[in-house]
Symmetry: C2
Subunit: 408 residues, 2 copies
């Protein structure tokens, strides 16, 4: 037994460190489970997280099924499971009571036990569950956020009960895991609030220009897609996605009389209108955040043209920041392909021919080629975030707003 404890000691320290360095929930859960499986020599295992009054299978690993189905399919099959939290199931019992269950043989659970082994799964997939070790994942304050279940500990190719020492190791991993999971969830929540705030405030600002909230979304998704297809790293693609919604924020500095003028602008008015790029960069200037720094670049450069005939600086080619060249394509494509209050959507054929004609003139030809080579992704985004008639209803039509519904 001594070697288990001693190996466990080193391992636990490293797990604590590793866990807290993972920032993605799925990766984190897989790592926790994989370590737990390794330390207990378990054939299979699952992590369930509490969601209201159900437990959701978040990740599963199984040597047997990995061999039989491969890793991807196994995870897919198991991921869809969800069980109610009641004392009748083993995982539910552990969630409710906070007790660890170390069951040597699930077929010999005493009849008087409150829980029983659900055989549906074994029957459906031809698995033979014998021993199982199930521990709650508990936060500092005692809240149980999920359950770690290990199945069929192996010794010399035979299924054996989990050792007493395994209990201690797994309980320790579970509480470390709980903290890391909560941390990652908090960070994910924070990020999603941040992104939601950017989209809402940017969309609200665009509203004066009669753009819909979906316009902002489509342009941002097109930009991210282009960045991905260009092979930019994942983090940079996310930054571009977050930064793009703010590309027109400088329009807040343009008076209604110009921004909303029907018909052609005078030279003087056009000059002022073009300054939205510069005003946007002013608003975003001097921020320490990477998102805002990229947003500033995009604001300043998304109306530059590849041949140097754009504004505000008239820079050309690769002098125009890559992010600006990306958003230029995304923004113009959206303007052409979607309905605006002053025009209908152009047919796809016409849109593509306008874009192609503008290659090397308005657009970076390499980027444009990538964009056009990925029209199926483009169309997917376009359809997913299509404007409805309702989006065009003016929110200035204020009488129709039901104030009661806003009180929440």
């Amino acid at each position: 037994m001594e070697h288990i404890l001693s190996a466990g000691f080193e391992k636990l320290l490293n797990i604590g460190i590793s866990l807290s360095s993972v920032q993605n929930l799925d990766e984190l859960l897989d790592m926790i489970l994989s370590e737990a499986q390794f330390l207990t020599n378990a054939d299979s295992g699952s992590i369930y997280l509490v969601n209201g009054d159900t437990l959701i299978f978040k990740t599963s690993r199984s040597n047997t099924y990995f061999k039989k189905w491969g890793e991807a399919k196994t995870k897919q099959v198991f991921k869809s499971f969800e069980i109610p939290i009641t004392k009748e199931s083993i995982a539910g019992y552990v969630t409710i009571t906070g007790k660890t269950l170390n069951i040597p043989d699930v077929s010999k659970i005493p009849a008087e036990a409150e829980y029983k082994h659900n055989t549906n799964f074994d029957i459906k997939y031809g698995y033979h569950t014998i021993s199982t070790l199930v521990t709650p994942m508990m936060k500092h304050d005692g809240t149980i956020i999920g359950v770690l279940q290990l199945i069929n500990s192996q010794e010399a190719d035979k299924v054996v009960p989990f050792h007493k020492e395994h209990e201690r190791i797994i309980m320790s991993i579970s509480s470390q895991a709980a903290v890391s999971i909560v941390n990652v969830q908090l960070t994910e929540q924070l990020k999603s609030s941040y992104l939601d705030t950017i989209f809402r405030l940017s969309a609200a600002a665009e509203y004066r220009d009669k753009e819909t909230a979906n316009h902002i979304k489509r342009v941002s998704y097109y930009a991210r897609m282009l960045a991905e297809k260009l092979g930019m790293d994942k983090e940079k693609c996310e930054l571009i996605y977050w930064a793009t919604p703010m590309h027109d924020i400088g329009k807040l500095g343009i008076p209604d009389a110009i921004l909303q003028k029907p018909g052609l602008l005078t030279d003087e008015e056009r000059k002022i209108m073009q300054y939205h790029t510069v005003i946007g960069a002013m608003i975003l200037k001097g921020a320490s955040s990477e998102v805002l720094a990229i947003s500033r670049l995009i604001s300043l450069s998304h109306h530059e043209k590849f041949d140097g005939t754009g504004y505000p600086q008239g820079i050309k080619g690769e002098k125009i920041p890559l992010e600006g060249r990306i958003v230029a394509i995304a923004d113009v494509y959206d303007a052409l392909s979607c309905k605006r209050c002053y025009k209908d959507a152009f047919p796809e054929e016409k849109v593509l021919s306008i874009l192609k004609e503008s290659s090397e003139k308005h657009f970076d030809p390499d980027l444009l080629k990538i964009f056009l080579d990925n029209m199926s992704s483009v169309n997917e985004i376009k359809d997913k975030y299509a404007d409805t008639e309702k989006d065009f209803e003016n929110i200035r039509n204020i009488e129709s707003i039901k104030i009661n519904e806003l009180q929440g």
Copy 2:
């Protein structure tokens, strides 16, 4: 020795868990240091973090000085220190080489060693450093983010060298600490970017109404101060602080012709103008984020009056959400006490008498009393975020913007 290892085992597991649950950097560093001190029976200790080419003392603990000066003063005194990262200092040597130094007696460091003990500190504060244990705090990828230094291990009231076992324990704590520190720093960066984004976009939206960016800041700080003095929990105060900047975001839906009209509005125009509260709530509606939910409440209710004569709903008393009652005071106080483009700042006496007259009519009398009881905090905020003449320069004065400076 066995008991050290065994105590260390349990402790280390718990430390790993505790560390990853702390979300505030100062608290985290203090906890790391306190545990390290406890496990090695050290009289004193410091944590330094790498900042460019210097090491900054981030936190210190010392039984000797805590007794002599108390905890607060000790931390204050030590916090101001900063040393260059060179091999000549012990901490610098550890930072550069990544080696742990366990020095039994600093007065006996061999002359050929690259580092030496800097006696300035001992001389200045009358301390007598003998033994020291200094370990690097290293991330997974090998980057050293700081150094943990322990001084004068005690045994039976005598200073003794640190044990070999202490080295192992402290190295392990240090690497757990490094991960936790980096996590907390990342979260703090994310939060500060988020907050910066809210303030910038909100300020930009207010710009159409000729409000300065500082107006948004002052109102948000007043609101947080009131929430704090009311005794709301820290997290709620922060939420109010984050949510307040967006209280007028609905003005994006009000046309320039009304928003910027000089002189009095017609009844119809006033009705439209008042709808900025409702439009704001529409923009913020349905968000899952707590910040935006509170912001929506504030937007909808910050023009309600305590006697029910406000808008848009004309609700009264405690039917008006507390957050709205708070921002009402903050917003009106700021309008009265600061210069606007259409009016000068009122003298403090006049501001206070207007507020007092409005108690129970416009404002919640209990909240107003708290506000008025804390005029020193109010004035501090007012002075810190005072508008300068430059803030009133119109950014529409676009010719003066230097585009080159925006390219960054």
